[in-house]
């Protein structure tokens, strides 16, 4: 039975908290991501607002018990608005000594730590670098501790199924999930339904996992009776009425691209090459051929974008997707798409860099690359998603700009958004404005068609599908004549075409809404400007600063190039401009360049999202 929790003078956990942060941590083979994902769905179904942070190593199965093989899944949920995955866990579930060692420093003082004593063997303690057993040497004194042999409990629960020891122990994550579901009063049925789908006809594994889940749940009930473990109750959040689901950034992005194509009435062509953390978008779209989606797993990143360009030339909505290193390879082809003025959406799920960098960790350090990183004057509109659910709308917006202005568009998301989940009020496609598409099909009354004939308002060139009679023409990467579309290297023409390409992209801002203010007044002492996935921590930090009486506002950019109208005026309305970024100050540079303002960076490149406290501290520091 359970080791009694240590009596402790630290503040106990509130049995009915407004919000809670729970972290599941174990070996990369322990199934922590699966347990966390299912706990997320159960939490969402219970009506809490939530945000998650899956954090896993680059190795698929790192050597067991090692510090670098620790995989963690954090969820923050509550009965009020949740914007981040939480600064510090209140509850840490550590499946082995390595998971405890890596994650304990993050646990808040007085927090609850649940450990599997069955894994605290001398060998595992040594692998984790513990000289003595932290369960016995006072290391855990500042926390509440529930230490018991989860391994043995799991083996006991599944012993009737005759699984080998190894397979039996793989049910540990479900046992632990069962306990967590009990702790927070969540129903087991959705998980049982999922296990039935997952294991399908494999009755043995299906029933063993369900048995482990039930056993973990029952253990909680028993332990409660015995005293040490108390359930928590987190009331549902008050959110806008509607139908909800959880969604990760990768899922929302895939769905948004399909929605964009549908709104345009075009088939979607998605060319991609496997790369972390962008691949889930390819996986999601690969099953959507009934919705007019073609996925093409190309031989490399270059072929992926080139095939998408070919599809766009042939009249489909071309999309390619990658992460930083792949974006570098696609660069030349982006220039081709700019020169040939074809609609194309390029998704970058940013990871830590440079080079191969930190494949599974998040960063937002590809902004320079997106805005500036091509040969020649080669402007491309750039957008960024701020949260998993936001990916849906931003994807539609990217498709809209690409088609309306006949241009490649870069959509920046990041590894954190791609994998993190949040509740999403499911929209109806009919609520979005259609994206008008007109294929040029009228031969000119005399002479030959100029494929670079432009809409006078948007400067978008005409889109002619091969197969259209009377409009045969040639396009390509060589500079083309403004007047005829034929090759033309003359000085005046290159000047004019370069200026036209710039004007077209700059002009997009005229068609976009002016920059709004997320939180606070349009002027004051300090404005915190962010983009992408820093949205949650910035918003919370600004709210906290305002609660302390500081005149701080939050501005968050979706459009990074061209920058939105009105942004300069907003920035000049504040004494200080703070730009927190998961890079060394890239948006800061852009703002200084475009507006001559004294924007100050707050940089973090630790492969982890910002904590609210870090941003709050910077705000207070600037206003001290």
């Amino acid at each position: 039975m359970a080791t009694a929790a240590r009596a402790d003078s630290r503040p106990a956990l509130d049995p009915a908290p407004d919000h809670v942060v729970v972290r599941f941590a174990g070996d990369s083979g322990d199934g922590m991501q699966l347990a966390g994902g299912q706990f997320t769905i159960a939490t969402a179904l219970a009506g809490n607002d939530l945000a998650t942070f899956p954090d896993y190593p680059a190795e698929i199965r790192a050597p067991q018990g090692t510090l670098f093989g620790v995989s963690a899944f954090q969820i923050h949920f509550g009965s009020s608005r949740i914007d981040t995955a939480g600064d510090q866990p209140d509850v840490l579930i550590a499946m082995n000594p390595a998971a405890l060692k890596v994650n304990l420093p993050d646990l808040r003082l007085g927090g609850l730590v649940i450990v599997d004593t069955g894994e605290f063997t001398d060998r595992n303690l040594a692998k984790a670098g513990y000289a003595s057993n932290p369960l016995e040497d006072g290391t855990l004194a500042p926390y509440q501790v529930l230490a018991f042999d989860i391994s043995r409990q799991t083996l006991e629960a599944v012993k009737d199924f005759g699984l080998g020891n190894r397979d039996a122990l793989r049910c540990k994550n479900m046992w632990t999930l069962g306990l967590a579901l009990w702790m927070f009063g969540r129903p087991r049925q959705p998980v049982i339904d999922w296990l039935k789908r997952k294991f399908g006809p494999n009755e043995l594994l299906r029933e063993a996992n369900i048995a482990a889940l039930n056993a973990g749940h029952a253990y909680g009930e028993t332990a409660e009776l015995a005293g040490p473990l108390k359930p928590f109750r987190v009331a549902p959040a008050r959110v806008e009425p509607g139908l909800y689901r959880t969604v990760t950034g990768a899922e929302a992005l895939a769905l948004g691209l399909v929605a964009g194509a549908k709104l345009a009435g075009l088939p979607l062509f998605f060319g991609s090459y496997p790369i972390t953390p962008a691949s889930p978008i390819l996986h999601a779209l690969a099953r959507m051929s009934d919705l007019g989606v073609t996925t093409f797993q190309a031989e490399d990143e270059i072929a992926a974008i080139c095939a998408a360009i070919g599809a766009a030339y042939a009249g489909q909505l071309g999309v390619t997707s990658s992460s930083g290193p792949g974006m570098a390879l696609k660069t030349e082809a982006m220039g081709l798409a700019v020169m040939t003025e074809l609609p194309l959406v390029i998704v970058n799920s940013q990871r830590g860099g440079p080079s191969t960098g930190l494949p599974t960790k998040t960063e937002q350090a590809d902004l320079y690359q997106a805005v500036y990183g091509r040969n020649g004057d080669c402007p491309i509109p750039v957008l960024a998603a701020r949260s998993p659910a936001d990916c849906f709308e931003v994807a539609i917006e990217a498709c809209r700009i690409a088609i309306r202005f006949m241009t490649p568009v870069i959509l920046l998301t990041d590894g954190y958004i791609a994998n993190a989940a949040e509740p999403w009020r499911i929209p109806r496609i009919a609520d979005f404005a259609p994206i008008p598409v007109r294929f040029h099909d009228a031969p000119p009354p005399a002479g030959r068609v100029n494929p670079y004939e432009r809409d006078p308002e948007t400067l978008a060139r005409i889109w002619i599908r091969p197969g259209t009679p009377g409009l045969t023409h040639r396009i390509g990467g060589l500079e083309k004549s403004f007047a005829t579309g034929d090759i033309d290297y003359s000085p005046a023409n290159h000047q004019r075409m370069t200026e036209t390409r710039k004007s077209k992209v700059d002009g997009i801002a005229r068609f976009l809404p002016p920059q709004g203010i997320e939180v606070g007044e349009p002027s004051g002492d300090l404005v915190v400007v962010g983009w992408g996935s820093t949205y949650g921590p910035i918003r919370q930090a600004v709210e906290a600063a305002r609660a302390r009486g500081l005149a701080v506002s939050h501005v968050h950019l979706r459009h990074l190039w061209p920058l939105p109208r009105g942004l300069g005026e907003i920035l000049r309305g504040f004494r200080h401009v703070l730009v927190p970024e998961m890079n060394m100050g890239q948006l800061k540079t852009l703002l200084r360049d475009q507006y001559l303002v004294d924007a100050r960076p707050l940089s973090k490149v630790a492969g982890q999202p910002f904590r609210i406290a870090e941003i709050l501290q910077a705000i207070e520091g600037m206003l001290a």
Partner: protein
């Protein structure tokens, strides 16, 4: 086996396939002859300019699309196969031709060519092989013979060359042919075979670069000795050359081809060309001049389902498995309703 394409619309003439652009190859370049042959062949194929797309990479050969009055896409170095893949998958009704060179197709774009061939996208690849980089002013190329002196190999190149047809066969090509730029008589028939073949049709064209590699192929292209240096293949016919006085026979001990004299018209020992025999194709593309004549014409043709056919078949087989309605898709899986409170 190979389907015939039905002509749609009025018949065309070679002039209908010529664009208004001034051709900018060097005077005497072999590309002119190839352009002329293609413009002459297109009407015979029953092809239509508006459903034809020429896609190219970078290099002298890649200027080709500008001179054809069809749809054309002059892409970036080596990437024509990838762009063509997107075009053909987006619209399988289009006739897609890829024009490339030895540098474009086998150096910077070698990887794309490999995957195009193994996927078997329905298109024609015309690889103009002049064994030199022309547009960048004469550096040795991946098909240059060992010892080629050039600005970048002043003491002669040391790299062994890649042989385009061998490469194509190794990559899984289902149609391989070879011609010479000046072979105006034979080229239309080879192009027609390439066009009719469903799948990637790979055609290597020996092309003379008059400025940087002039006369490179003269030993076997010279008309005066052509009968002795060229072996024009015909499916089902003995592989004869030198006016029928010589042929190829298989030495059963070495399992190699060898040149044999035909005495008194007795061709019983001469191998009959079977273009569906990959083993034979391997031997034919491995023959080196002057030990052997140069094998020309259709070397290998053994169709398989094309990439786009296979994809379409798979889509049909799995149709209806997922929601065909996007609103339904968004609502799939666990959802919960939040009702208005108070």
């Amino acid at each position: 086996m190979n389907e015939m394409t039905t002509p749609q619309g009025p018949a065309t003439t070679p002039a209908d396939w010529a664009s208004n652009q001034e051709v900018r190859w060097c005077p005497g370049c072999g590309d002119y002859a190839i352009l002329k042959a293609i413009q002459r062949t297109m009407p015979q194929l029953g092809a239509r300019p508006e459903t034809t797309v020429f896609v190219s990479g970078i290099g002298c050969s890649s200027r080709f699309p500008y001179y054809m009055e069809t749809y054309g896409f002059h892409t970036i170095h080596g990437r024509a196969p990838a762009v063509a893949t997107g075009i053909k998958l987006a619209n399988p009704e289009l006739d897609v031709w890829i024009v490339t060179g030895d540098g474009d197709g086998l150096s910077i774009g070698g990887n794309h060519l490999l995957h195009l061939l193994r996927r078997n996208l329905d298109c024609q690849v015309l690889l103009f092989n002049n064994e030199i980089y022309g547009l960048t002013k004469g550096q040795y190329s991946p098909t240059s013979r060992v010892g080629t002196t050039s600005p970048s190999s002043p003491w002669g190149s040391v790299e062994r060359p890649v042989y385009p047809c061998e490469f194509a066969l190794g990559a899984g090509a289902r149609f391989i042919a070879r011609v010479i730029d000046t072979a105006q008589k034979q080229m239309p028939a080879v192009l027609e075979r390439a066009y009719r073949h469903k799948g990637t049709s790979f055609v290597e064209i020996y092309q003379n670069c008059v400025v940087y590699n002039d006369g490179r192929f003269e030993e076997f292209t010279d008309r005066r000795s052509a009968a002795h240096t060229q072996l024009w293949l015909e499916h089902g016919k003995p592989m004869l050359f030198a006016g029928g006085t010589k042929g190829l026979r298989l030495n059963p001990r070495t399992m190699r081809l060898e040149v044999a004299d035909v005495v008194d018209g007795d061709t019983s020992e001469i191998v009959v060309h079977d273009e569906t025999n990959k083993g034979l194709a391997k031997m034919l593309v491995s023959m080196r001049f002057p030990e052997f004549p140069v094998a020309l014409g259709v070397i290998f043709c053994d169709p398989r389902p094309t990439f786009e056919q296979a994809l379409a078949a798979q889509r049909r087989a799995h149709a209806g498995e997922g929601p065909a309605d996007l609103d339904q898709l968004l609502r799939r899986g666990p959802t919960w309703e939040v009702r208005r409170q108070g």
